[in-house]
Subunit: 211 residues, 4 copies
């Protein structure tokens, strides 16, 4: 109740509030539409149709579908990056980093998709991080850099950190997607499984020797 956002401002006073609400409405509609149709197939009209707004209004807020997508992706990334920073801050060895990073990612996935899941989303939403997003790519790059730091000097020359990153990311992605399809959402299990598999696998390459 206290939380409904009316468009014309029930009386709390501001024009700006309506603007923010509209922007939010568009973003949320876009989130749903992208989930349903995919970013490519979605049209601006699909999005506005999902809102209470008029066609032209969209363009008061975004220049194109891509811009909304970007905004959405940025939002996600912005929400994820501090978590990753925390992970980094509290991880002084490879194992800890991996475990907390996986946990951070799976929790993030859960949190991002919670609304969609509770509102009985179709079957799979997978909003939140879409790893192909340019902004998200930088996150992957951060992770790669982190891994490199941990692995430098440790790892036999033959290994390249890009393969390692790819493996880590692949596991996270696929397992994450899978986790989202099951009820109840088992963050602990996914974290446990991913971490152990990856760490033990890596151990076979002669690392990580705890420092």
């Amino acid at each position: 109740m206290a939380d409904t956002i009316t468009k014309q401002g029930a009386g709390d006073g501001k024009r700006a509030q309506a603007k923010a609400a509209n922007r939010q409405e568009i973003l949320e509609a876009a989130r749903r539409v992208f989930a349903r149709l995919g970013v490519e197939s979605a049209t601006v009209r699909d999005i506005i149709r999902e809102t209470s707004l008029a066609a032209g209004t969209f363009y008061n807020y975004f220049k194109s579908k891509e811009e909304v997508f970007q905004a959405l992706a940025d939002e996600s990334t912005i929400r994820f990056r501090p978590r990753l920073a925390d992970v980094r801050a509290q991880s002084f060895d490879f194992e800890t980093y991996i475990r907390t990073a996986y946990r951070a990612y799976f929790e993030f996935l859960r949190d991002e998709n919670e609304p969609a899941i509770e509102s009985g989303a179709p079957h799979m939403t997978l909003i939140g991080v879409r790893i192909d997003t340019p902004e998200m790519a930088t996150v992957v790059e951060e992770i790669r850099a982190d891994l490199e730091k941990f692995l430098s000097g440790e790892v036999s020359e033959a290994l390249d950190t890009e393969y390692i990153t790819a493996a880590a990311v692949g596991i996270a992605r696929e397992l994450g997607d899978y986790m989202l399809k099951r009820r109840p959402l088992d963050v602990d299990g996914a974290t446990q499984f991913a971490s152990t598999l990856f760490l033990k696998g890596m151990a076979s390459f002669g690392m990580p020797r705890k420092t």
Copy 2:
């Protein structure tokens, strides 16, 4: 009558041949177009423009762009499945299965994308297997079944084969995509890395004890 003009004018006489040729021409054009523009952005027009055929002709062979895509995906799957069958036939233990399966997949990826790569494709093509395809999903399912067979009785009750499959597939996908971007195409390296990582990782769960 006997002399109807076939498309290729080869004069070998069969009407059916012309039909097959047309179908093939469309499929190949689609492959190129999908590689260039992505499946979503490509239009039927883009495809027919790439052939020597008329617009209407397309609809004698396919009902929509999606159907062509499906056909293309099926083709891929059809080409991949026998390889997987071979793998299965010659693998009597878990380790062998994993190693040969990964190799089969990376080789398949290389083979499928070779033409595109040689013709200097934009940057990433990734035709061939697109894991999200329904048909491809059945391949993944086959793999899951294979893994289950190997793991049955082996694995501590806590593990679930779906997580394991997800991890295996995630590694394959991400590593495969990555491998395709590098020159020279390093099938051996990818195979080696993926297999070892996965196998050692799995070993940590108390398996696979060679039987």
Copy 3:
């Protein structure tokens, strides 16, 4: 009767005929629309609305409104240029050139606008030559060249042929527009008046001495 052009080809046989008919239909509609709204204000949709064709069909024939306009202008110019060539061929002195050129222009205007006039056009049509058209500009340029040829050596150095051309063209345009508004269409009167005024006026500059 013998002259009706049916779209689906009543039986006279050709697909090509329908195409030509459609193109013609668009051109004629455009002519009307341009006359009614002006080239700038007219929209592609205004034009197709005036035809029996569908929206998309327009683009099978023209890429844009401008292209139709160009086609229309070219048509006019193409029809006018041979007349001007005749004038040139049969005029060996300045006076003859001026008289026959003015006549040619006014006759051309009458012929171009005859259909519109007979069909009870709004009030002023003025299709036909729109002097600002790029193609028409080249006609003006031809005239300037013709005048220059006649005037070379004749005219006192102070005069510049561009002023002269401008005056000749201004008289033609304004008088022509005016002539079109009156009934009956008085080609003779306009020719007589324009020629005499211009020639006597020019005489004051010390030419043209008949050679």
Copy 4:
């Protein structure tokens, strides 16, 4: 209250002044925009964008783009009419009238376009008089009346003053447009040429006998 903030903040107190200033700002913006884009292509948005005013404010002053254009045209006419009145006042014979009228027109053209020319306008501006404006039509009508007065009784019955007016106006328009394209702006030359041509031309019809 007495201290309402005026737009210019000049503080001189009059509300009316702010209004007039706004109106003026719109008019000047429109003048620029029309010069840049042409009247047809210009949009109300283009105009307000050029001012410091808000979109809605436009409609407090004008109902549409056309109305602004009209106002602009009227302004021009209003500025031109007194000049024409002067011409009339000091011309007691046909020749003087023609010469001073042409001069007045060419000077007017120069004065109106001076700002645009100095600010390095695209290539042709031709603001000021656009002869098709309804208001301008009345100016032409005045001229016609003037001519008629001078010609009454003078001219052989066969001539009609409308042809004569058309010729005079045609010369003025075309020559004026042309003059504006040349640097330096040669008002004298244009006046001289137009007057002489027209007067000598008219003389051929048996007039004007100086009275």
